[in-house]
Symmetry: C2
Subunit: 114 residues, 2 copies
């Protein structure tokens, strides 16, 4: 059993092409013995975003803090604290922080994509 929180998890800049003002933490992943899927947490600074991209794996997301939009293809959908989002495989998507405070969200993925 592992118990942790975000204060204990190291934060890494996201250097993917198309990302801006984004950091990543990994509270639970393969290295902890999670056999099938992993929890990543992304923090987007105001004006920051993830890549506007498509991939073969799904995202299961939960918004921990802040306000923003998720692009569903080219349509912005407003999200905020307490929202759950399912991005299905092959769906073009992007998270954008449209607020004045960090947008923090969990992003669960199959372990091979962590």
């Amino acid at each position: 059993m592992k118990i942790t929180n975000l204060k204990e998890c190291e934060s890494f800049a996201v250097n993917m092409e198309g990302a801006k003002g984004a950091t990543r933490q990994m509270p639970i992943g393969k290295a902890d013995g999670a056999p099938n899927f992993s929890i990543r947490v992304f923090t987007l600074e105001p004006g920051g975003h993830t890549p506007h991209h498509v991939h073969e794996s799904e995202h299961l997301n939960y918004i921990l803090e802040g306000d923003g939009v998720v692009m569903e293809d080219d349509t912005p959908r407003v999200v905020g604290k307490g929202d759950f989002v399912l991005v299905i495989p092959g769906e073009k998507h992007q998270y954008r922080n449209t607020g004045n405070v960090p947008l923090v969200f969990m992003c669960m993925v199959p372990g091979q994509y962590e």
Copy 2:
């Protein structure tokens, strides 16, 4: 893409043997097209608990509200809002609400165990 929140998710009593004062919601699951794993949310009333049991699937948990303990075999470990917990396959565990307000936590599992 599905976007939802707990206010929109129906709540069901947990009738498993060994559970007390527990309800379950399912913001994202197989019915939504999630191909590999699902997000369940459990709410335990004060004094409530999940079964003290063991199974072949893992749990990836995140505490949304409240205070309690997770039994790691027979040892209580204190958890509260903002904690992430990994219960590995085969590990005996139980969530107990030791506080005075509901203990609410996300519980991600492989889809076949949702």
